[in-house]
């Protein structure tokens, strides 16, 4: 074009110049000249003036922003026109690009759909920028770049274009993320697009990568039919557009992601909600279960009575689970059966039975049985449940607490089946119930024990006030029978004489002779009694008619014999009876033994107490009689004696005037006789005390030597009167003893007086006191008449006198030695006699020493101080 334009100008100038030269040198027809001139003017207008005017017009309109003047007109303006056209195009585009960008930004911000944005963008480029073709390539999922949308391109082309990243300019722009500008398509001859480019007349093009988050997602292609069309500004604009697109895509993607995320979130929320709802439902049911369980357990916890507890649990179970049948089959050890409780009351299942039983199996194997089609089960027990109880479905759960204790059985009538949830829940209930049963059992036992103890305490209390053996036995029997759950009991006690076993319970047999069994008899009961051991038996033959009859009529099948022992001594026998075989198990035996032990003590206490009370009452009575008597005797006998003795003394001492020798002698006899009478009275009083057991000692630590010396002093007159040679051989370091001073003096007085009495004038009396082991031995030896051997023992009996003729002469009451013996024995000693008739007697007695307490300072002799010096 440019060349064409220049050529035309040169040609025109040349033609004009030739003409002018020709006209100058040749005379030219003026008409031709003018004609030629006109031609030149026309040519000038055509080729010079007009384009200039157009360009002027175009420029001025372009300056005013109007690019509507067709640029092909400019084509006629030759190269300048071309250049102007390009300039204007660019100007137009850059002018337009602001609008485009504005519109694009608006579009992008207002549109979310990526397709809309793409179309909008392409329309802007194609229509507003008036570029012949443009396209947007996106990387597809399969890794190929494909045209997403285009303007000004044939469908064929669009269809056929698919490039790998890095392939071709588009691919390279994509991979490198760099804008590629081709200013002259003819030079590049891109193999993929060349033909099309040629066909479309595309002279320049640009590939702008669309980059979202540093990652190319596609390419924005813009083509132009003008070479070098894309200058920096335009490219910048296009890049901006591409960026907008990228932003739009990014936004869209983000939006999509967000939407996706939202959708996922929604889904998630939806699913979570569902799950929550489910969980909630599960929780609610769980809480309900727990509450139900709690209800059951709590309601049962308050019940310590097993039966009450069962009833409560069954009620609650029915209420909570809406089963129609509920109950327990509790194992009975005695009979080896399962016994129905609750709705199954009266239903018994012998485990030893050979008949196949699902319940028995379930109990034995500790396994759960569940069936929702009871009619299908052939075992007789289930059939019975099906027929008798109308159960259609059933569940049996073993109750185990340390060992199997029974079954927890639930059933439904008509409708209702047991699910796994039910099974799980009921299993939990069963395990809890097992614990409760065990606890209740223990509690019952405890309560029983406490009760027993309370009873025993009550009994002890009553004993303190009114120990009526019969009443006690009755209470005890009642309590023990109840505690052992036995049906009957007979309490035998050995009677006071120890000859017969006498029943004290039941009352109708108490004291009946027919029920008495001599201890020495061969009856079975006496043998058991003699064995003194706890025994159980199932059937017994008693050699006692009444008892056998009783056993027969009351249908007793097992017995438990518990001996009553006090300090190893058998005092009686408890016989508990039950109508059940093997009723008395270890627990019951233990309890029975415990109770027997306490009972024995109580019975014995009661007996002793009763005995003591009787004795006491008697003693009290005797005591008062005796005391009165003793006082009376003392007073009534001694008062006159006082006068006699006193006046005899006065007369004898001649205080009432002179008396002669004979009078004196007789009065002396009166004096001695009154003395004797006084002794007699004293002895009689002592005797009465001894006999009534009233004689008591007032023990104190005393020195025997001191006591002996005083006694000798008392008898010194008689000794001197008889001219007796009196000797004392007392150990120097004699230990002290615990004794009653006046009573011991009485002993020595008596023995000395006796020795003096039976010793002839000028005889010999020796008192010897020696330590002898744990005792102190005192001996009073005389060389008097002596006593024959057969009398040695009798001599210490009351009212015994050795030789009556002699006694008359010397006087005596026959009580002295009896009193002496009693006093010695009361001191824990003993007395004996060694004597040979004719050569004398020795009375010896032992008194126990004070037992030395080890390391007690009071008893340890200190240096320079004899522990037991004689008092002066």
């Amino acid at each position: 074009m440019k060349k064409g334009f220049n050529f035309r100008l040169i040609f025109f100038i040349t033609v004009v110049a030739v003409f002018l030269i020709f006209a100058k040198f040749t005379a030219v027809n003026p008409i031709i000249y003018y004609l030629f001139f006109v031609v030149i003017i026309i040519f000038g207008y055509m080729f010079i003036f007009r384009p200039v005017v157009f360009i002027e017009k175009m420029v001025s309109s372009a300056v005013n922003g109007d690019y509507s003047i067709k640029k092909d007109i400019l084509g006629k303006a030759g190269r300048l026109g071309e250049e102007l056209n390009l300039l204007f195009n660019r100007q137009m585009v850059s002018q337009e690009s602001l609008n485009i960008l504005f519109a694009a930004s608006k579009t992008i911000t207002s549109r979310i759909e990526i397709d809309d944005v793409v179309n909008m963008l392409l329309d802007l480029v194609h229509q507003k920028m008036m570029l012949p073709s443009t396209s947007i390539v996106f990387l597809d999922d399969d890794g190929l770049l494909r045209i997403k949308a285009s303007r000004g391109l044939t469908d064929d082309f669009v269809r056929n274009i698919h490039l790998r990243p890095g392939e071709g300019f588009v691919g390279r722009a994509f991979s490198s993320k760099e804008t590629i500008i081709i200013n002259d398509a003819t030079k590049e001859k891109n193999p993929e697009t060349f033909k099309i480019e040629e066909k479309e007349g595309i002279m320049s093009y640009v590939h702008i990568p669309i980059i979202v988050n540093d990652k190319a997602i596609g390419v924005f292609n813009v083509n132009s039919r003008t070479k070098r069309f894309f200058d920096t500004n335009l490219v910048k604009t296009l890049i901006t557009l591409a960026d907008y697109l990228a932003v739009a895509v990014g936004n869209s993607k983000m939006y999509q992601e967000m939407q996706e995320f939202n959708r996922r979130l929604e889904l998630e929320v939806e699913s979570t909600t569902e799950e929550l709802t489910n969980t909630n439902l599960r929780l609610i049911s769980k809480v309900k279960e727990m509450k139900a369980l709690n209800d059951i357990i709590f309601s049962a916890t308050g019940k310590f009575n097993i039966d009450e507890m069962f009833a409560t649990v069954i009620d609650k179970i029915k209420f909570v689970t809406s089963v129609s049948i509920a109950g327990f089959m509790i194992y009975d050890e005695q009979n080896d059966t399962l016994v129905g409780v609750g709705d199954f009351k009266g239903f018994e299942l012998a485990l030893s039975d050979e008949t196949p039983s699902i319940l028995a199996k379930s109990f034995k194997n500790v396994s759960t049985f569940i069936s929702n089609e009871l009619f299908m089960e052939s075992s007789p027990d289930i059939q019975r449940l099906y027929k008798d109880y109308g159960a259609t479905s059933m569940i049996a759960l073993p109750l185990v607490e340390k060992k199997p204790i029974g079954l927890f059985v639930l059933g439904n009538k008509v409708t209702g089946k047991f699910s796994h949830d039910d099974l799980r829940f009921l299993s939990v209930v069963a395990s809890q119930i097992a614990g409760l049963i065990d606890r209740a059992k223990i509690y019952e036992q405890l309560a029983q024990r406490v009760n027993d103890l309370l009873t025993l305490r009550d009994i002890s209390n009553t004993i303190k006030t009114e120990p009526q053996l019969d009443e006690i036995i009755e209470v005890l029997a009642d309590k023990t029978i109840r505690a052992l759950e036995s049906d009957y009991a007979i309490f035998w006690l050995v009677d006071d004489e120890g000859e017969n076993l006498t029943p004290l319970f039941p009352p109708e047999y108490a004291g009946k002779d027919i029920m008495k069994i001599p201890v020495k008899s061969e009856a079975l009961i006496t043998k058991i009694f003699a064995a003194g051991k706890v025994q159980t038996a199932n059937a017994l033959e008693f050699q006692n008619e009444a008892y056998n009859k009783l056993q027969e009529t009351s249908g007793i099948k097992s017995h438990l014999f518990v001996p009553l022992k006090v300090e190893g001594k058998n005092i009686g026998l408890f016989c508990f009876c039950s109508k059940s075989q093997n009723f008395f198990n270890d627990d019951k035996i233990r309890l029975a033994e415990l109770m027997a032990g306490q009972t024995a003590a109580i019975v014995e206490n009661a007996r002793i107490h009763n005995h003591l009370k009787k004795v006491n009452a008697e003693l009290e009575r005797l005591n008062s009689v005796k005391n009165d008597f003793v006082s009376m005797v003392s007073h009534e006998l001694r008062t006159p004696l006082t006068a006699i003795k006193g006046f005899v003394h006065v007369v004898l001492n001649e205080e009432a005037g002179k008396i002669n020798e004979q009078q004196k002698k007789f009065l002396s006899i009166v004096d001695q006789s009154s003395n004797h009478l006084n002794h007699l009275i004293g002895d009689l009083l002592d005797l009465s005390k001894i006999e009534s057991g009233l004689i008591t000692l007032k023990p104190e630590q005393l020195d025997l030597a001191d006591v002996i010396r005083k006694s000798v002093e008392t008898n010194i007159n008689q000794i001197k009167n008889k001219d007796i040679e009196f000797q004392m051989e007392i150990d120097k370091e004699l230990p002290k003893i615990n004794g009653d001073h006046s009573r011991l003096m009485q002993v020595y007085n008596n023995l000395i007086a006796n020795a003096v009495k039976f010793t002839d004038l000028g005889g010999q009396i020796t008192i010897t006191v020696k330590e002898k082991g744990d005792f102190i031995c005192s001996s009073i030896t005389d060389n008097g008449i002596g006593i024959s051997k057969e009398e040695h023992k009798k001599i210490f009996d009351k009212f015994y006198q050795v030789d009556s003729t002699h006694t008359r002469i010397v006087g005596g009451t026959g009580l002295g030695l009896f009193i002496v013996r009693t006093i010695v024995e009361l001191h824990g000693g003993n007395i004996w006699l060694d004597s040979t008739p004719g050569s004398g007697s020795t009375f010896s007695f032992l008194l126990p020493k004070i037992k030395k307490k080890r390391l007690s300072t009071g008893d340890i002799p200190q240096a320079g101080q004899a522990p037991f010096t004689e008092k002066n």
Binding site: R638, A643, I644, G646, V650
Partner: protein, 123 residues
């Protein structure tokens, strides 16, 4: 001369004491019951009182307690002279506040010794 008051419901005993003690240089006053005895004790303020236990109406123990309770007679020595010889009875006598207890029938010499001792202390 020391004054002795003898209280006893038995007349012969009183006669014996009167005779015997007068012989041994004592001024003897007798009373045959407790009430009279207390009255006489307050009147004559004796140096010693011989007191029987078993007396009708008021026994010797009560008499002893009354005499001891009265400030005037509280310090007069009292010697029981009683036929009651049991430990309990003797203890009772001594606990009532007496100074001695002699069991009847007494040895006149022993009685004299006891009286002398008590009168000496009292005088």
């Amino acid at each position: 001369m020391s004054k002795i008051l003898a209280i006893d419901d038995d007349n012969t005993t009183l006669q014996l004491l009167d005779f015997f003690l007068t012989k041994h240089k004592y001024e003897v006053t007798v009373a045959s019951n407790g009430v009279d005895g207390i009255k006489k004790a307050q009147e004559i303020m004796p140096d010693l009182i011989l007191l029987d236990v078993m007396m009708p109406n008021m026994d010797g123990i009560d008499v002893c307690k009354k005499l001891r309770a009265d400030e005037k007679t509280a310090k007069i020595p009292i010697l029981f002279l009683s036929a009651l010889s049991q430990d309990v009875e003797v203890m009772r006598g001594l606990m009532a506040g007496s100074d001695g207890y002699i069991v009847k029938p007494f040895e006149p010499d022993n009685l004299l010794k006891s009286i002398e001792k008590l009168v000496e202390i009292g005088g």
